[in-house]
Symmetry: C3
Subunit: 376 residues, 3 copies
C-alpha cells in the first residue's frame, strides 16, 4: 500500500537541510530563544493543574522563568518570576498555592494580578506605585486544556499562528474539536531529557522516513508508516490502523473507550499536528498524546509528554499502560536517534548540511521558517 | 523602636541597582577580577597559621594562586605560585612547611624570599640570575591577625583604603582596636560554596532590610534589626541586644568572657564593618566573626567564615557552639537568598536592574565604586 | 658520567617557551585542531584490531570522528562518521564488524568503500549518485602495524613527515626497522585521561631534565637520564642500561626475549622517537612502547599507551607486568606533572612564558613548528 501525499514533490529531488552550525552555535541558539521561543505562543501548564484561585506553577519559556497562576476571579495570569525590588525568584518551588505572591527575601508582596500590594516600611512612600513595581506580566491564553503564554510585547495572532496550524494540517479546527481535548484528563506524564538541539527533535517528529528503521511497534499498528510518509505530509490524512489491530497500543490490543465526539471517519486512524515552535499533538480515537519541547541549551532539550484520556477512564483507574507504552517506546527510539545525530552536527562533513528526501520535504518549510524568524 | 540613621535619605526615594548583566557577564567578571580583586588589599591567611619560618599556605586572589609564607627572619612574604622555568605550581598542597620552595617538576629551588638558589646543571650559567628568575613577588601586610596581600604593582594605600573603611564605619580605628582582633584565637572556621555572584553576597551583608524576613534568630537577639536598618547604615552605631538577651548566641544565652578591652559603650552591642572588596567583620563583646569572600566564577563565590574568641576561651576548649550557630544560621539564610537571586539576574525583567529602598541606599555607593573601578 | 649531545647549545643560554595563553585559549586550540591535528598524519588504530574485511573501529582525529575499516579486498579505508542524509553517526559503537555501513536512523547504507548503495524509496531517483552521496573519505596508510590517517584534502608527504622524523632522530629508517614493529603483538594497553593541554604532554616527552626529579625507577635503569639529557637531544643515541640492570623493567630484572632483528649496538639501550604532532615511540631490545596523544579540549588530553612484545611472548601469556609497570609509572609521574603545570598557564607570571634550559632547547623547535603551523 502506497499513500500518495497531496502535493508530492517531484521524484528524484533531494533538498538541502540547515547547515550543521545551526545545531551547535550558542549564538544562533540565543537568537532562536529570543526570536522564536520567547516570541511565539508556548503551551506551558495544564489548566487543571492550576484549577483553583491562588494555584500557581513555574514554567520555563525561552530564557525566562514564568509564574502561571489563577487569580481570585479564576482567570489565568502569568508573570516573569523576578521580584522588582532586588530580583529574587518570587516562587522558589515548582508549584504551590497561596493568596498572594510574596518574595522570600524582603517580603515584597504581589497580589494574584501581579500588583505590588505590600512592602515593609514603604507604605507611605509616594513613588512606590503598586502597578509600576508590579510583576512583569506575560500574555496568556487557555486552549486545549493548557495555558499558553507569549513573552512578546505584541504577541502574534493566536488564531493565525496556533489555530492556523490546525487548519493547515487538519483542514478545519473542527477536526480537532472532535477529540474534546480541553475536557480530557491526564493519565500519565513522562519527562525526557534529550541531549540534542530542539530542532532535531522537531524535525524527527515531522517525518516518518525513519519509521521503518527504528519504530517496529508503531509500524505494526500503522502499516502505511513503513512506506515513510508521515501523516504530516498531507492535509487531514489519518494513518489507518492495521487490519488486525484493535487499538493504538504497544501490542495492538484494544485501547480504552472511544472519545465521545470522534467522527466515524476519524475512527481507527492516527492524526498528528505540529504547532511551531514546540508542541506536537497526536490524535487517536481513545486518547491524545501531547508533547512539549523546552529547549534548555543548544544541545539539550527537555520533552514533557502527556497521555490524555476520557475523564472517566482516568477516574476509574483503568490500566492504560499498553497505550502509554506504545508512544513511550517511540519517544525513546526517536530521542536516541536525535542524540546520535547531535555530535555530527559539528563535523566538516555536515558543514553544508545533509539532504531531505521527498518524504521529508515539508521539513524544509520548518527550516525556512526558522531562518526567517532568526533573520538570516 | 525606630533608630534613625545619621543621614537618612528622603522618604519615598527608590534608587536603581546595577543592571542584571553585572551579575552574569563573564567579561565583566574578568574585569572585576583584574581591576578590583587583584588591585585591592585582600585578607588571605591567618597569621597564626603560618607562625614559624618556612610555614606557607596557598591562597586564591583574583585569578591567581598566591604562596603566603614566612621567611627565616619571621617576615611574611607572598609570591605567585608559578615556577619561572616551565610554570608548574611550586606548592601543590594547600599548606606546608619547608626550608625552601622547590618545584616538583625539575627541582628549581627558591629561598623563602623567592630568590632562585638552585637549579640542576645551571650552577655555572651566567645568565641565570637568582633574582631575575625568582618567584614573582606580591605586596604583603599583617593586620588584625591576618596576612593581607595586593597583586598590583603599585598597591593602593593600606591606611586610606583598609583602615579608611574602619574610620568611615566606626569613626575611629580605636573603636576596632578595643576588640584586640590581632591577638584573639580561631574557635571555628566554616567554608561555604555559594552559587551566586560575589556582589550579591556583599550587597546582602550591607543591608538589614531582609532581616525581618529571613533571620528570625538574629532579630530576636538584635530587635532593632527587625526595623530593617543595618548597623552599616550609620557611623559607629552598635545594634543593641534585646532586653532579655544575655549574649550573641543562637538562643540568647550567655556567651563567653568579654574581650578585655571592649569599651563600656560597646558592651551588649553588635557592630559591623565591610572592607571593600570582600571582607566583612562583625564585632560583639565576646567574639568576632570575620568573613572573607573569594569570587571563583561569575556565579560562584567561596565564603570562609572565622569565629574568633579570647585565646583562653579557645585554649580551655570552651563550648562556643551557641555563639557559632547564630551566625552560621545567618550565613545559611543569606546564601540561600543569594542563590535564589542569581538565576533572575539574566531575566529581561532585571535588564535595567531593581531598586534600593531607603534602608539600602548605602549599597548604591558600593555599586558606584564597582562601576568606577571597572571603568564603565 | 656526562653524555655530550651532538649539538650542545652554548652554556648559559635560556630560551623562551610559548606564552601561557597557548595552553589555555580555546581559539588557539581550535586552530591547532584544524592546522595541526587534522592536517597531519595521525596514528589511530592497530591494524590487527581490524584484521578481517568488514571490521571497523571509530577514532577521534582533531574535531572529527573517523570510521577506520577494511574492505572486501582487505584494504583499509577511512571515512568521517557522518551519514550524508541527515547526519547521524553511522557507527554508534566504538568497534564492530559488518558487511556494510548502515545508518541506524533512516537505513541509508554504504559499502565498505563508502559508496551509498541503498536508501529506502530512492532506488529510482536519478540524482542520488552513490559516489556523490557516499561517506566522506579520509586518506589512510598502514605502517608499524597501525593505521595512520590524514584529514587534509592534500596530505603532506608521509615519507617526508612521518618517516622523516625517524631519520632525524635515528639517522636511518633501518634503525627502527630492526625492531620489526609492524609484526609484534599488543601485550597491554592503558588509556590515561590527562587534565592538561596536549603540548605540555609532548614537551614533557621530549626532555629528560625532569627525570632526576620525578622518575626514580627510570633513572635507576638508565643512569645517564639523571644527567638531564634526553635521548631525543641526540641523533641515534641509545641511553645505556645501568651496569647491574638486566632488563627495561621496573626493578631492573630481566625482561622477555630480545626482538629477533635488534642490532648488537642496540642491545641494552633505550631509543625514542617523537612523531609530530602526537605519537611517541620508545624502543628497548625486547619491547616497544607506543604512545598516542588525542587532544580533547584545550586542557584535556587522552593518552593511549600500547606495550608491544614479540608475538610468541604474548601468545604464551608470558608475565610482562615488570616491563609494563616501568613505563606505566613514568606515565603517571609525567601526567601528574603536566596536570600541576596546566593551572599556572593562565597566571600573569607565565604571560610571557617560562624558559628552556640547554637540555630542553630542542623543545624550541617544536614550539616554532606549532607557531608556524597555526600561522602566528
Amino acid at each position: 500500500m502506497i499513500i500518495e501525499p497531496v502535493a508530492r514533490p517531484l521524484p528524484g529531488s533531494l533538498e538541502p537541510t540547515l547547515p550543521g552550525r545551526w545545531y551547535t552555535d550558542p549564538t544562533i541558539f540565543a537568537r532562536e530563544q529570543a526570536a522564536i521561543l520567547e516570541a511565539s505562543w508556548s503551551c506551558v501548564v495544564r489548566s487543571a493543574d492550576i484549577a483553583r484561585p491562588g494555584d500557581w506553577e513555574v514554567a520555563t519559556v525561552g530564557r525566562e522563568q514564568v509564574i502561571v497562576s489563577r487569580n481570585r476571579r479564576g482567570e489565568v495570569r502569568a508573570f516573569l518570576n523576578v521580584c522588582r525590588h532586588r530580583g529574587m525568584r518570587v516562587c522558589t518551588e515548582p508549584s504551590g498555592s497561596s493568596r498572594s505572591l510574596q518574595c522570600g527575601y524582603h517580603a515584597w508582596t504581589y497580589d494574584l494580578d501581579g500588583r505590588l500590594v505590600a512592602a515593609p516600611n514603604l507604605t507611605r512612600m509616594p513613588d512606590v506605585d503598586g502597578a509600576r513595581y508590579g510583576l512583569v506580566g506575560v500574555h496568556v491564553r487557555e486552549w486545549l486544556g493548557y495555558v499558553w503564554v507569549c513573552l512578546a510585547a505584541e504577541p502574534p495572532s493566536f488564531s493565525e499562528t496556533v489555530l492556523g496550524e490546525v487548519v493547515t494540517r487538519l483542514g478545519d479546527v473542527r477536526n480537532l474539536d472532535n477529540y474534546g481535548v480541553d475536557g480530557i484528563a491526564l493519565g500519565r506524564r513522562i519527562t525526557y531529557d534529550v541531549a540534542a538541539n530542539w530542532k532535531l527533535v522537531i524535525e524527527n517528529f515531522q517525518e516518518c522516513y525513519h519509521c521503518a528503521t527504528i519504530h517496529p511497534e508503531l509500524t505494526e499498528v500503522l502499516p502505511e508508516f513503513a512506506e515513510g510518509w508521515a501523516a504530516q505530509a498531507y492535509v487531514n490524512h489519518g494513518a489507518a490502523f492495521g487490519d488486525e489491530v484493535q487499538g493504538f497500543t504497544v501490542d495492538g490490543s484494544a485501547g480504552t473507550a472511544r472519545l465521545p465526539s470522534v467522527a466515524a471517519e476519524q475512527d481507527r486512524r492516527y492524526y498528528a499536528v505540529t504547532f511551531r515552535p514546540n508542541v506536537f499533538v497526536n490524535l487517536v480515537p481513545d486518547h491524545v498524546v501531547l508533547h512539549r519541547m523546552v529547549p534548555l541549551a543548544v544541545d539539550r532539550t527537555r520533552v514533557v509528554c502527556d497521555w490524555l484520556f476520557a475523564p472517566e477512564v482516568v477516574a476509574a483507574g483503568t490500566d492504560v499502560s499498553a497505550s502509554v507504552e506504545l508512544f513511550h517506546r517511540v519517544n525513546v527510539q526517536d530521542f536516541d536517534a536525535c542524540e546520535k545525530t547531535q555530535p555530527s552536527m559539528s563535523s566538516s562533513a555536515y558543514a553544508e548540511g545533509g539532504v531531505l528526501v521527498p518524504a521529508e520535504h515539508h521539513i524544509g518549510e520548518f527550516h525556512a521558517w526558522v531562518r526567517d524568524a532568526v533573520g538570516e
